[in-house]
């Protein structure tokens, strides 16, 4: 440079400056209108060009079966957001941690993400047990969790956004439909033995007995991973309920439905409604074992609307034509988008401001259709009844209006 004369130096630097400003450099523009010092006053991992979020699911262990779909959907959403220019002009960088289906590990990794990595938000958890394990960490370290799974309710936190349904959103409208459609009066409640099925069946029982004026002829629970349902099936045959209401989860699901079929309990003779079978589970159970049974969910892959068509197409393009999308996968896809909109509404990455901006955020492009965040950090959503076909897809027979989330339902506890 020493050989350059001052004038020449001036010209080169001018040219350089022109070149830079001429480039469509979004980051530069963004950090001008949203300077990092302003949008990040609490020391989160936000730079002029990048914002870091965490992803905390089980990639290994028992729950990997269920959580894989959520991991994929969240990454797809983040990729799409980045392609659109990111959040407040910053590209999203993901730090992936593995909760390994072990609840203490979840808590430990949550702490790592919040304390060491200073992530601006975490997309994660699947089971209620893992959420309960990380909740105190998120509240103490003031983090933001986007939780995708439909769950039992009875919880609400400033630091969590629940993108799945709480129990009443999934149970009540479904029971109303089956009672009206099938003139059902007697119900047999079955579940895997842990908090979600038990709480859900409690709500179902109250609704059946107090509102629908029906009878619960049996209610029982089997350990997770139980594979022998012979005795249960005989009891069902003896009591002949109008509806089997099933909340069996995980590997047990497969045994349960195969054995029902083998024992001659099929949809032409028996109505069955479940809130624990999505397209993901059907992949394991086999559509032929479920033909004609009903699921109550807010989302089915077969939903016929332009948002969903785009979503399914993008998902399959990224993860293969054979991949399926279940209810929770779709809910997980909403997380990054809702976070992006809340951040943009708040004009800040600060957790407190994002939490405060969250209520009334509307997402019109959601694959499930319009959703809106409630002040209680749950989503207004619809309930749909799908009937399974042999190809593993559901035919949507009924769609409710938008249901208000009510995580602490009165009269149901």
């Amino acid at each position: 440079m020493k050989t350059l004369r001052p004038a020449l130096r001036l010209v080169t630097s001018l040219l350089f400056a022109l070149l830079i400003s001429g480039l469509p450099n979004i980051a530069l523009v963004a950090s001008e209108s949203f300077p990092t010092a302003k949008v990040n006053t609490t020391g989160l991992a936000v730079t002029d060009t990048e914002v870091t979020v965490g992803q905390l699911h089980s990639a290994t262990g028992t729950m990997a079966i269920s959580e894989t779909g959520s991991i994929q959907a969240e990454q797809l959403a983040i990729e799409q957001i980045n392609a659109m220019g990111g959040v407040l002009g910053r590209k999203i960088k993901i730090i992936v941690e593995d909760g390994a289906s072990d609840w203490p590990t979840f808590a430990e990794k949550a702490k790592k993400l919040l304390v060491n990595d200073k992530v601006a938000a975490v997309m994660g958890c699947w089971t209620s047990a893992s959420r309960k394990a990380v909740l105190p960490v998120f509240e103490k370290e003031n983090g933001m969790l986007y939780y995708p799974t439909f769950y039992e309710g009875l919880e609400q936190s400033k630091n969590v956004i629940y993108t799945g349904q709480e129990a009443t959103q999934q149970i009540i409208a479904g029971l109303d439909w089956i009672a009206k459609e099938k003139k059902a009066k007697t119900f047999y409640l079955i579940g895997s033995d842990y908090i979600w099925p038990r709480t859900s069946n409690k709500i179902a029982r109250k609704h059946i007995e107090n509102v629908l004026k029906g009878t619960v002829v049996g209610e029982e629970y089997y350990a997770l991973g139980h594979t022998q349902f012979g005795s249960l099936i005989n009891k069902i045959k003896l009591k002949k309920p109008d509806v089997i209401y099933a909340i069996v989860v995980g590997g047990s699901n497969v045994s349960f439905y195969k054995q029902l079929k083998a024992a001659g309990i099929t949809s032409d003779k028996q109505t069955l409604l479940t809130i624990s079978v999505t397209e993901d589970e059907v992949l394991g159970i086999g559509g032929e074992n479920l033909v004609g049974f009903y699921s109550a969910m807010k989302y089915f892959q077969s939903l016929d609307n332009p948002n969903n068509k785009k979503f399914v197409e993008a998902f399959k393009a990224k993860y293969g034509a054979k991949s399926v999308i279940g209810d929770v996968t779709q809910a997980a896809y909403l997380g990054p988008w809702l976070w992006k909109m809340s951040v943009e509404k708040a004009g800040s990455f600060d957790i407190d401001k994002v939490a405060a901006a969250s209520p009334d955020i509307e997402f019109k492009e959601a694959p499930e259709g319009y959703v809106k965040l409630h002040a209680n950090h749950h989503l207004w959503s619809k309930l749909r009844i799908g009937q399974w076909a042999a190809d593993g897809q559901a035919k949507v027979l009924y769609e409710s209006g938008l249901i208000e989330p009510d995580p602490f339902p009165k009269g149901y506890q």
């Binding site: 022998q228 590997g251 001659g264």
Partner: protein
Amino acid sequence: MLLAYTTSELTSIFTMQGFAGLSLFSVLLLMALGLAIIFGQMGVINMAHGEFMAAGAYTVYLCSTLTAKFAPSFQPYYFLFAIVAAFLVSGSLGLLVEWGLIRFLYKRPLDTLLATWGLSLIMQQAFRSTFGAREVTPTLPDWLMGSFKPTASIDIPINGVFVMGLTLFITAAVLFFTFKTRSGLHMRATVQNRMMSGAVGINTKVVDRLTFAIGCGIAGVAGAAFTTIGSTGPDSGSRYIVDTFLVVVFGGAASLLGTVTSAFGIAQTQSISEFFLQGTMGKVATLLAIVIILMIRPQGLFASKVRRA
């Protein structure tokens, strides 16, 4: 709860309930047979036993996928060959594991426990990496599904009958092998007194390897049979392992007859208590009964009368 029903209803329910018990019995027995040989006869605590079952189940899944792809017309028959394949795959895996790991640990039973547990984790991860974390189900031939109806109100699941038949066959084969063949004689001799067997010219190393491989092969068959009942995931094996050890320990480790009796006892207790109590409580009642009996008879139902070195 039974008073409100007619006699014919009760008859059909009890028939089906009896069958449910027998079906559970054959499942438990099939699970335990392989372990009864490895743990009972050889004294190796094989924590990876469940994973050998899963290997068998995955073999069936693989056969199913290959059949669907290359020979769809063969679909109704592939399952029988898949069972044989499952035996061979798990058996040769067992052979490999014995050669590479177990044979160094015969004199250190507690280390075997740790080593095989590590092996089970490795195998689980291998399944996960190969077949994915999702549970898979092979497409089963139609003749295996559905039910057999002797009367209008009785349904006997055909897959249950199939598992029962298979169990009967394997049990008979194991008993025949152990008590009627020369290799079986060698195996029993080695179990009773390794040094003496070596002295009379039995190649105990080969016997060990073969025994372990056969035990694993039977686990593979069990895994194959379970694809008719449940799904297969990377950690299916760990679901089975507890029940498997329960049956073998309860029966008295060294006795095949004990294994059969214990499987029968546990299955009937569980299926009857599940019918009259609730699901989880049925299991509690069964485990409680087992704990009490093991407190009274720590050696299990059938203690081996052999003096151990």
